[in-house]
Symmetry: D2
Subunit: 294 residues, 4 copies
């Protein structure tokens, strides 16, 4: 399929590569043009403007935060302005439910279609086309873009027609992962100061009880203290928790665990660890217990 | 092997049955004698006193809390008094690290051996002899009792010679499970109030990401609202969190997530749900969000 | 002095009255025109547009939240557009530090002066001209507007030239008051369930130790359960805590107590108490303890 | 009056002095005998045993924690054993509601009278005989001991006949004070990182709003960073919060703010600040925000 692609960060770039590999015709646009040009050798066309990236009537966005997507989609000459009536905007970013609602409204006003299809997975999963997609929006339109989603993921779930629900789903999911970070961090601190070896603790508990790759991966990062380079930076974790709490406030849901995790991320930034992997939450918890990080 | 067995509650009873099935000769003692007699038909001898249960020089205990074990082990005519020099006390209960240290000391003073070997698993796992045992104590003694532990479990881990570390391990493990309850409860509340169906949320996230039986089992209990009969009662969950926080205070480890969970268990008791399954934590979180429990 | 006044809610209206009483010439503007007209009989001129309210070169705003002030100040034909070079915008609202920074920048760009002068006090203090003002901005400009501030308050404090610091001050102050609500709520719940009479508890502790009107006023509201009509609505309390946490996140300051209070306000809204006085936080805490509110 | 006095720590010693000054005949006992002997020159008799201190039929205790009082009152040859039928035990210590209940029961069983009369005030208030006493127990007995209580305090409040309620009152009161510490700590951290000077912040807010000596005293300690010598050590603050949470758990009252404060005290101990004043909570909060303590 012909499709525009905007946002070539450490998630967007491997996703774009996989779309090209799957035979789709990409017109890529990136604020920093050099990143877009790097894709030309892989077969992408480089757009000179947002408008050009929308010309095929179908455009995917993978941006870092609300602000970036807002600018690209709602700014002057942005997607909402540039996309033809009937065009589709397929948004892969993790954004607020509020922005998702607003994009739905703005696109709908112009006879355009907005699909929220946030993805689960770290950069290595993006490279391996092993992301998990959770999509919501007009169902017929989702079927049309399915080949694009399939090309970058191991699984595509369609959860309904209300776009913001997919964003809430993604945020709730990220919250669950962050909860694993927090609970492992606290359990490891208790273990270490009680004569239990964290690596063995993790191996036994995950081997016999949790049996989960999420515990395996993050537990290992913490036990080995390998917070750099980050798969997902702590300051982005903070951003996500902010979005979780904001979605929760809109829906009138108190989430004390989310609040506690957010406080630890804020402390992590205050200690200068915003660019470490978000598993460095464990460093905050360890220091609070008078320990050196592992 | 010949062994005494004390404590025939909803965990102790199936464990005792499995020991009998494996061919061990049990002398059982229970405060409520009728429960002990029910085991007689399965081949157990019924002891008239704690002392009788200790006569073989080896005794296992599976009691509900610190207080019960303290009375049985350290009270007048208790295990510490009754056990011969060189005898072994094998404790399966989830108890405080403080009591574990004290039992270690008292037994050692009398030339007896204390082994802490708390178990992971709910009553159905106990019945299926599928518990997971984490043992600590004199290593040679642990080897001697291994056939007993093997008869009731699918896995026995020996983590060292310091008894209290096994209890800290068990508490840290229970904390991790309780953290799953809390995080699922909050995520479900957010999902429900944002148009996401909790059952589908669980299926997708656990199917594609967590892949964990712990999330599967507890997620299902919450989604189906089946909190009764309890596999593990909420008031016991509260007790465990109290032990976690007490071990953490001894070790000078702040655990804000453990504190938040404890607060919710306290609220669950205040709302009259102490005898429901500890997954009823989700009812507390749901009500706080203005929702009916699922 | 000649001054425009925008925002005639339950704080703005008594403030405007006091300015008129002190002999200032007010041109008032309100989105709902009838509220402005009600002030005409007290001597105010009614503006037909925001622009008219800015004609004197000096304008005060007292609006409910960021969004309202943003619209009035930064929207098409708003204050920033309408005010002459050298004009002063005196903002009394409780707003985010982020918006304060942005207003400072926009006004400065146009050669206008922005003064942040948020006020402490409930509507009855506004009526009695007994507010406390905390102002920041160009010091010479603050001296020029001092008669206006003096006319509505019992005390004016100038804390420096950085506008956003006055807003941070106000937010930190509101956080301290909210902390009194939370701590009294928890203490009362413990007292009630331990056989201590809350009214006596308050009388003794405040009479002998705290000796504070803040404890006196809010303690009494809680003990008497008089949450309606609200002096300051719970949903505005939630808004303020959101601003506190947002200012704290900008400054990289974890505030777990602020997070806990915010969670309780969210729960209050979920239970349908958003329009009660923010002291109804005590109802949330009481219900969580299985109590009826006092 | 003739009265025994047990416990000559930094609170007990000035209290005993004031009793002597008021003309009461004290027989003092202390584990470390030298401390008792120091009082001899002020007119006290030095007891060789707990029993001797109980001979007058009336004994006051001022001990550091549950454990110390438990040993002195319930140990072999302790107060419960030594006091005559009809004798009075007047307990000034801050203890758990559980121990208060147990002492009530044990004394009552022996026809003795237990009065719980915990005190508010730091060592300087004890020296100045300016403590505040909150008493509960048999009312007629309280009237008999009133001269003793009056001699050490500026105010004596009798709140009822249930002893443990006075202990719950004291714990709830200490919780309120600790809440001031936590809220000031967080507000100061936000202020400092937002360009607001903490000393000015305190002066304005307490001068104009709170007007409370509690905010004045503790605010000043924090602003000046004078955490040593401690008026009340952080590790005792931790003990009190543990007692608060334990009383709250007995009464089924969730207290999330108390939990958050406790977590910070635990962290303070972990960082090696257990012997600083409990206002050093502010150091924990400041470090978590990436600041040096003031």
């Amino acid at each position: 399929m012909k499709v525009g692609f905007i946002g070539l960060g450490n998630m967007g770039l491997p996703i774009a590569h996989n779309l090209l590999r799957a035979g789709h015709q990409l017109t890529v646009y990136n604020r920093t043009r050099s990143k877009a040009e790097a894709l030309a050798s892989a077969g992408a066309q480089v757009a000179n403007s947002l408008g050009e990236a929308c010309q095929s009537g179908m455009v995917m966005t993978m941006l870092a935060d609300d602000r970036a997507l807002e600018e690209v989609a709602l700014g002057d000459g942005g997607i909402v302005d540039a996309l033809a009536r009937g065009g589709i905007h397929l948004s892969l970013s993790t954004i607020s439910t509020a922005l998702s609602r607003r994009l739905t409204q703005e696109h709908t006003l112009r006879g355009q279609i907005f699909i929220a299809s946030p993805v689960f997975g770290r950069p290595d999963a993006a490279e391996a086309a092993r992301l998990v997609v959770v999509a919501a929006g007009p169902l017929e339109a989702i079927e049309r873009v399915r080949p694009l989603l399939a090309a970058v993921s191991r699984k595509v779930f369609v959860i309904g027609s209300e776009q913001y629900a997919a964003n809430a789903f993604k945020l709730a999911g990220n919250f669950l992962i962050a909860s694993v970070l927090e609970s492992l961090s606290e359990a490891f601190a208790l273990a270490r100061k009680s004569g239990v070896e964290p690596a063995q603790f993790l191996e036994i508990l995950n081997g016999s009880l949790f049996q989960s790759p999420v515990y395996e991966i993050y537990g290992k990062i913490i036990v080995e203290g390998k917070f750099s380079p980050p798969g997902f930076a702590l300051r982005l974790g903070l951003k996500d928790l902010r979005l979780v709490l904001s979605a929760a406030e809109e829906a009138a849901v108190p989430m004390p665990l989310a609040s506690a995790i957010r406080d630890h991320f804020v402390s992590g930034v205050a200690r200068g660890w915003g660019d470490l992997d978000w598993a460095a939450l464990a460093k905050v918890v360890a220091e609070d217990a008078g320990l050196q990080a592992l």
